[in-house]
Point group: C3
Chain length 134, copies 3
């Protein structure tokens, strides 16, 4: 397992970690199998989405804000209840196939750390899993 | 890793791929472990849900349309921003346990390709992962 | 693979299964790799979220009820269509890294069975997956 550290710049935002995940895949020596990218935080998540037009990330942020507004009637008193809900909607991990030592991301796919209660210093765990031997 | 190809018939809809995933499980020779079903697209996803009453899939479609309407105030100009958001909500992969060479789906569970910007030709990657030896 | 049984007490609610998942991790003998926690039901899911303040779970419940109200215009006639939609939003599995025989949950993370159509007797499958040998 490898752990990636990052600093998120704003309260809410998607940070591109594709390059660091590809690097972890190589360092872990995964040839055939899958890579798990895991976020050990409860007010952040990880998702796979478009890597070309950055407006897609802005639209993801605004759509999630409309779905779970910060000022919804919450009982948790730390002011980040919306962040916990968004984390469960987006999810705490992604699993990506690996073949011939390379991540099988689609042409337009990137891996994004989803910050919902930043700015903060965050971590991401990356684990390489073995494919069944043919 | 095996790759399944499919054609989705409409802009939005859930396509049952359970049989093809079960077939991939057998061809990959997974006996004990898990199967990862991965969608390498950014306007589609994959989910597990009811395989009996097709109205459940219609309800999933209509609920997602209410949550993320196509005419929300998006900035991405390709007219499919809602599809990107739905893809991140539903997720790009499912992981299903395998025991004695069979997928451990529940009685009422099926695997559905979730199309949000079709009709299109799509692909799904399937990887078999090894369980820890007892 | 191990299977955990539980009884959920109410129609909707998050049941803490962290201790039972940690116990399964130990019994499966996972040292380095990942654990998959899988729900074989279509009106329930599993998620990772805050383990300290129980109000976070109450907020998750109320936020999901606002996103997918029971009385939305559904066609599925069993009265639990909202539960199917919530199950697909939350997801049917989580994958957690394991290192040195321990789950790599973050300090504030717990594993929660997400019931959306209880009270019922439910099951959860737990599978240990092998890391790539270094």
């Amino acid at each position: 397992m490898l752990t990636i550290s990052l600093e998120t710049p704003r309260r809410v935002g998607f940070v591109d970690i594709t390059g660091r995940v590809e690097d972890a895949c190589e360092r872990l020596g995964v040839v055939t199998g899958a890579l798990v990218v895991y976020v050990p935080h409860t007010t952040a998540g990880v998702t796979i989405n478009e890597n070309a037009d950055p407006s897609v990330r802005a639209d993801l942020e605004s759509a999630l804000q409309r779905l779970v507004p910060e000022d919804s009637p919450f009982t948790h008193l730390e002011g980040n209840a919306d962040a916990h809900v968004k984390a469960s909607l987006v999810g705490s991990s992604v699993t990506i196939p690996v073949s011939d030592g390379r991540l099988c991301l689609g042409t337009w796919q990137g891996v994004y750390f989803a910050e919902f209660d930043g700015p903060r210093r965050r971590r991401v765990h990356v684990v390489g899993l073995s494919a069944v031997a043919a």
